[in-house]
Amino acid sequence: MWGYAAVGADIYTALGIITLAALGLAPLAFLAAGIVFALVGLCYAELASAYPLAGGGQYFTLRGLGDLSGLVAGAALVLDYTIDISLFTVVAFGYFNYFLPWITFGHHISDFTTTIGPIHLAWLWLVESLAGILVLIWLNVRGIKVSTNFNEIIGTIAIVAQTVIVLAGFILVWKPELVANEFLFDRPSLSQFAFGSSLAIIAFVGLETISQVAQETRRPATIIPRTSIGLVISVLLFAMAFSVLAVGLVHPTEFRGHEGDPVALIASKIPVIGIVAAPLTAAIGALIVFISANSGVVSSSRLSYSMSQFDLLPAWFSRVSKRFATPARAVVVFGGVALLQTIFAFFTPGQPGKSAAIDVLADLYAFGATTGYLLVFISLFVLRLKDPFTPRPYKMPLNIRMTYKGNQVWFPVLGLLGFLGVLFFLIMVILTHQYARIIGPLWVIAAVLLFMVYRRKRGLPMFKTLPRDWETATKKVLLEAEEFKSLEEYEAALSEHRARTGEPGIDLPGTQR
């Protein structure tokens, strides 16, 4: 039911650009990002199983820190979903273009480019990507039902294919001495490594997508933690395996020109099976990455729906189309943003002889993810302190017991480490990502302006959190998710607290008194 497709597609996208940035130390860049990602995964597992509502990071932040922070987290994550749409569509056609010589009698994608001043425009690739995004918009406005079985089958085929490539690569051609050599003599500079490891966050997106569907899960308390942790470890496994394999198989600079189809390059280097494995990998890559692009469309409309439910965005976004019963407006708006981003990325001047599209989109991506995750970690602390009553079927390991306002609470030590890790990456992004550090904050400021205009028009307080009845909301969620045991525990914890202190208990932003 949870598509590995949503998460496993990321390595198909990330491998080339990260190896090019971090050179011989690419496996370490993946590891650094992977450790932080694992902590983010544990944090999401805790929050999504305690608060199983569509909205993900934006909802946790809204609940823990109030409306304005919720808006900032939501805006950052929506930015990422729109980049998801453009980046993954571009890469999906990168894999598709592997077959281009077969269709066009020997012409490569580099033959379909033109140079306009400093801009190296891969116009065919641009046209394909724009058409791909338009197809996604059309499918989602009409409303497609991708069967879960289809997703499962594609996900399983991808895992089998990845496993075969990893194992065949390690057995037949991998040279540990080449890895050691790359480690020692092909080191990136410190800023290249920082850039590479902050890019590696892309290899680990998709967690947000899981929390977006938390509401549709029955018994989320048992299912969400296990699935998230399983996904975190297996994605980490494949990312590490592929990067170690890549460094011991080809020189990092060989990825130049293969940013669009890095895994197919790896597959083609494997003797005997390479001749079949490479086109097969390209086909699977194109399909799985395109499915991932589609999940960007779905998640951005879900997230904006959730935000307008909480009066963070105008209700205009959540209006459902009468004809197709889909959130058509949100799909068109965010699909449109993705189209603009794609055009911008293709028209950005890059290194000579090479399109900068994937570099630009990947550069932009890391800002939204790190900003969103940072706010989610802060909310984790606040919710642990101020809302110890909501049952947490899963808790991040390693906690310190302490007393806060008469209640026994658990302070998450791993959460603190994760917070510091994400903060470090956010600083790296601002220092080394030349596009993200400008466009990211501008996007968030634009969202805050829209929020102010909307709140002013509705006559709502601009920066104050609106009153909300979190107690009833929690009870309703637990009831709908059929988590009856948790519901009982919640009511018992609250009434015990009230009997002991005479206070209402819940002290979150917006709580009605």
């Binding site: 590995y4 499962e152 996900g155 399983t156 895992i159 089998v160 496993t163 990893v166 194992l167 390690f170 057995i171 991998w174 540990p176 001495e177 890895v179 050691a180 048992t222 296990r226 942790i229 399983g230 470890i233 297996s234 980490l236 496994l237 590490m240 395996a241 170690v244 011991g248």
Partner: protein, 54 residues
């Protein structure tokens, strides 16, 4: 379907472990360390994805 994924990853882990052992025997300790590390990661993910109640 999820048990198939767990199974595939478990198989992958055991092959990686075998490769690691082969590397130790042939004296390539750097490679062996990486392979055994990957194998343990595979074991952990197979364990986490393994369906409960089985």
């Amino acid at each position: 379907m999820r048990d198939i994924k767990a199974l595939i990853i478990a198989l992958e882990g055991s092959v990686l472990l075998l490769l690691g052992a082969a590397s130790i025997v042939s004296g390539r300790f750097f490679g062996a360390a990486i392979l055994v590390g990957l194998a343990s990661l595979a074991a952990a993910s197979a364990w986490a994805l393994w369906p409960s109640g089985r």
